[in-house]
């Protein structure tokens, strides 16, 4: 009798291990992406946002409407041939205006969110890493800014500097970095005592490298979720400023300004001056909120269903 063990059956790599699939090893980001793509509402939000990006930025290449010169024989036309969404009181084409206003809304929305998140992430990371008195001082500054109602302070600055896309983005970004700063600080406070940060420190990493290579990348989940909500808030803020008359100036257009123009003709029943624009604002903001909710659910491991 030989005591040689029987040869093992050949390994079948196409068949998974017994007892169910283990699943291939995936990175956190791929898992999150998978989770996100299964969230129907979030995907719908992404679709709506993509539609508006195409509509506002590619649309004007195919649809040319007058948004520049007053045309007195075409004022307040109802939707019809030549003007699918009618015309305004100075004869501008409403559909072309909608595209142009959407460009401004999306540009300011994303730029302001990027500025706000950029300042906020840096502020929060530095504050959280420094700790002690520097941390308290930096957080008191955040408290002070957070106590000033956003709309009021933004209106005051926008009266003078809000006439361009860049100006509006800077103003809105300059007052929306506070919540991200707090969130990133919180995240950094839990990250900075982790082993990998200690290891990086032991290896001689300076503060800048710690923030840039280790802390911010690991707080990226929180940051990305916040970007989407900030885009939504910025678009609403642009609309509010425009509606109150302190938004972009001609020849730029913004949706809020179009609405405040339309309100004068509501009693005349010129619905096309009000409802397409309002619906567009609601859809874009809703899309951003849906994406944000979806991202939060998929990036936060605790909220994940499995």
């Amino acid at each position: 009798m030989s005591n040689i063990a029987p040869p093992l059956p050949p390994l079948d790599i196409t068949r998974g291990p017994e007892g169910g699939a283990v699943g291939s090893i995936q990175s956190g980001w791929r898992l999150a992406l998978h989770e996100f793509s299964r969230n129907r509402l979030a995907v719908m939000g992404l679709g709506i946002l993509a539609f508006f990006v195409v509509f506002c930025f590619i649309g004007p290449l195919f649809y040319h409407g007058n948004t520049i010169s007053t045309s007195l024989q075409n004022t307040n036309l109802p939707p019809g041939a030549g003007h699918p969404l009618g015309t305004t009181d100075v004869g501008f084409d409403e559909l072309a205006l909608l595209m142009k206003g959407g460009q401004a809304a999306l540009e300011v929305g994303f730029a302001a969110a990027a500025i706000g998140i950029g300042i906020g992430a840096l502020w929060g990371a530095v504050s959280g890493l420094a700790g002690g008195i520097v941390d308290s001082l930096m957080m008191r500054v955040v408290d002070v800014f957070l106590s000033i109602p956003f709309l009021f302070i933004v209106l005051i600055v926008a009266v003078k500097y809000g006439a361009s896309v860049l100006g509006l983005s800077l103003i809105i970004g300059a007052f929306t970095w506070l919540v991200p700063a707090r969130l990133v600080r919180g995240e950094v406070l839990t990250l900075r005592v982790r082993d990998f940060v200690s290891a990086a420190r032991t290896a001689g990493a300076g503060r800048l490298r710690l923030i840039g290579r280790h802390l911010i990348p690991n707080a990226l989940g929180v940051i990305i979720v916040n970007v989407t909500f900030n885009v939504a808030d910025a678009i609403l803020a642009v609309a509010a400023l425009g509606f109150l008359g302190f938004g972009l100036h001609y020849p730029s257009q913004d949706w809020g300004d179009m609405l405040s123009n339309g309100i004068q003709y509501m009693q005349d029943g010129f619905w096309w001056l009000v409802f397409p624009v309002g619906g567009a604002i609601v859809l874009v903001v809703m899309a951003c909120n849906l994406i944000g909710d979806g991202l939060r659910d998929s990036l936060d491991v605790r909220l994940r269903r499995r």
Binding site: D143, F152, I156, L259, G278, V282, V285, M286
Partner: protein
């Protein structure tokens, strides 16, 4: 408790001071002097310089700031050069109207949002819950003025039930009685707040429903109605206190836009018209007041929560 209150009050005062310095500095940097607005566009340099000197606008901003704070402590909010009236007098004739609009909207919002959130939590994932959630989500994404426009279109133009303009009466009592004109502005602000509140209310009610004491109450045979009334409502309402305290900036902003849309002569409309002609002291005073209200809201909510929830102990 007293030590905590004092410390909390101390930080609030520091934040108020920081806010006043920042707002003053910002306004000063943007509008160094109202001289041109007062003297007119054709004023020559000499008279502008003389006006600045007479009114202290040529001092360094920190001196002007200290002077302003000194006046503020003595109850002087500054002077509106546009309306030729003291800011305090302007605010005095308008604040009650704004307080009424904001206060009653907040009250209605709480009265609606609390039962709505509990209903959604109890009936979660049913058709009713989904409809309410979707409506709240859409309203939440809606600019205030668009919400107001929809209400005007439906309830004032298509079906002329209410007035599309708010009450123009100068007496607050008359405003309160004028439901024909006040329903739409109040409804606008209420819906806005309900959209914000009901999400939180639904999730806190759901968290509370999962607690053991609810299970225990059911296990001892308490009728479901009493479980909800006695055990769920009071516990699920606690986060509402914080939420109301935090909602003041949104309420003030909503107030500004609602008053503008409905032409309601309150503080928001005053702020709006002061923006156009840069009525320096009105802007400064109202921004300061709204910041103080925001800070006070947080402070009061913290205290109210400790009073309402005996589990919270303050050291």
């Amino acid at each position: 408790m007293t030590a905590y209150l004092l410390r909390r009050l101390g930080t609030s005062v520091v934040v108020v001071l920081g806010v006043s310095i920042f707002i003053f500095f910002l306004l000063h940097a943007i509008y160094p002097s109202p001289a041109v607005d007062v003297l007119g566009p054709h004023a020559n340099r000499v008279s502008i310089l003389a006006w600045n000197r007479d009114h202290g606008f040529d001092d360094p901003w920190i001196v002007q700031y200290l002077h302003y704070i000194n006046q503020l402590v003595h109850g002087n909010l500054g002077f509106s050069f546009k309306v030729n009236q003291s800011v305090a007098a302007l605010f005095q004739e308008r604040w009650a109207r704004s307080a009424y609009l904001s206060g009653i909207s907040l009250l209605f919002a709480v009265i609606i949002a609390v039962p709505l959130g509990i209903y959604q939590a109890v009936k979660r994932n049913t058709v009713g819950d989904n409809v309410v959630t979707s409506l709240a989500f859409v309203t939440y994404a809606m600019p205030v003025f668009f919400l107001a426009l929809i209400l005007i279109q439906v309830f004032a133009l298509t079906f002329p039930i209410f007035n599309f303009e708010a009450s123009q009466s100068t007496s607050v009592l008359a405003v309160m009685g004028d439901w024909h004109s006040m329903t739409l502005p109040i409804a606008t602000l209420t819906l806005l707040s309900v959209a914000g509140f009901s999400r939180y209310m639904r999730s806190t009610a759901m968290d509370t429903l999962a607690q053991d004491y609810i299970k225990a109450a059911r296990a001892k045979g308490l009728p479901e109605r009493l479980v909800l009334l006695r055990h769920l409502v009071r516990n699920a309402c606690l986060p509402m206190i914080t939420l109301i305290g935090l909602s003041i900036p949104a309420l003030l902003a909503g107030n500004l836009i609602t008053e503008t849309v409905f032409n309601y002569q309150g503080l928001g409309l005053l702020f709006y018209s002061s923006l156009g002609n840069v009525d320096y002291y009105v802007l400064l005073a109202y921004t300061l007041i709204s910041a103080v209200l925001t800070i006070a809201g947080n402070f009061v909510a913290d205290i109210a929560l400790t009073v309402a929830d005996p589990r919270i102990r303050l050291a």
